[in-house]
Amino acid sequence: MNEYLDLFLTWAKIGGFTYGGGYAMLPMIIREVDEHKHWASEEEILDYYAMSQCTPGVLAVNVATFVGYKRKGVMGGIIATLGVIFPSIVIISIIATFLNNFADEPIVRHALNGISIAVCVLMSKTLVKMGKSSLKDVKTIAIFIASFISVFFLGVSTIVISVCAGILGYIFFRLEDKKSC
């Protein structure tokens, strides 16, 4: 298959089955981009999330642009992004035309409540899986906990958390560098 078409369709699939924002999308992205297509590793996808957190725009779009760019340069970035927004444009246009009370329909509510459970399942599995591969020493575990505490108890913005973690990473690196000298 044409690689651009492949990029477009894969990201359209991801966009079409994501409910509830950027992080809910992580399991789908790992499944398609890492396990199926091998376009980027689990670690790279997390890196893209980290950078998308501190750059303007919608998380999912930014991650799509990163993966598309890595695969096929600038054109790839644009195609992947168009892919991830395509289902939204189609679905929202249909809903806006025909269903004014879409969100209030009982059947839609029941289905969405069911989907929320699916998102719980997918996300908890993804968290455990990624935790195993990325949280290996005391430092990373401490940052993981500190990051959660900052956002949960202190309400620190996710941008600040990402930037601080980056700076800490740099300091750790310098300290270790000194030790080994």
């Binding site: 890196d47 750059t55 879409f102 289905a111 409540n113 699916a118 908890s124």
Partner: protein, 179 residues
């Protein structure tokens, strides 16, 4: 004229809304007040619709606003204007990163960044668990919790089941049990 104004406003939103789809909401509120393209009630409705349809919430909102004011073309224009700044910024960042990919510093920084992002994922997990499986701090939604445990068990046992199948299956379960 309306089209140009919308392009500028959504481009601005895409450029300055940092940190995901929900960050676009304050910008949309301002748009409602300044231009009257939609009311604040419409906005609440849009947020509901955006949350109940697949896709990134920010994108859904942009399409909805554009479509309601100017039809299919409007939806396209607003959505493309919203993503345009991200595409430019991300490609610049990705290009810069290519150059430092193998540097030890960058590798070390990303190692801690990944741990921090996982902390944010944990928060997202907490949030969806709270909304779905608990009706208050101490009260578990028994029906939902049993379904969660069953689906989790099945998906661990049969690794081949795709996330799409899990989502579709749970939607059907939701309808059958009127969750």
């Amino acid at each position: 004229m309306l089209a140009i104004k919308m392009i500028i406003e959504f481009f601005k939103t895409g450029l300055f809304a940092i940190g995901g789809g929900l960050a676009t909401i304050p910008f949309l509120k301002e748009m409602a007040l300044n231009y009257g393209w939609f009311t604040l009630d419409d906005l609440q409705m849009m947020i509901n619709v955006a949350e109940s349809t697949p896709g990134p919430i920010g994108i859904n909102m942009a399409t909805y606003v554009g479509f309601n004011n100017m039809g299919v073309i409007g939806g396209l224009i607003t959505t493309l204007s919203l993503v345009c700044p991200s595409i430019i910024v991300i490609i610049l960042v990705a290009k810069a990163l290519d150059r430092f990919k193998d540097s030890k510093v960058v590798t070390a920084v990303f190692k801690t960044l990944r741990a921090a992002v996982l902390g944010l994922v944990l928060y997202a997990v907490y949030d969806i668990f709270k909304k779905t499986l608990f009706s208050s701090v101490t009260i578990i939604n028994v029906k939902e919790f049993i379904i969660y445990a069953l689906v989790l068990g099945i998906s661990i046992k049969f690794k081949k089941i795709s996330p799409i199948a899990i989502i579709a299956g749970c939607a059907v379960i939701g309808i059958i049990f009127a969750l």
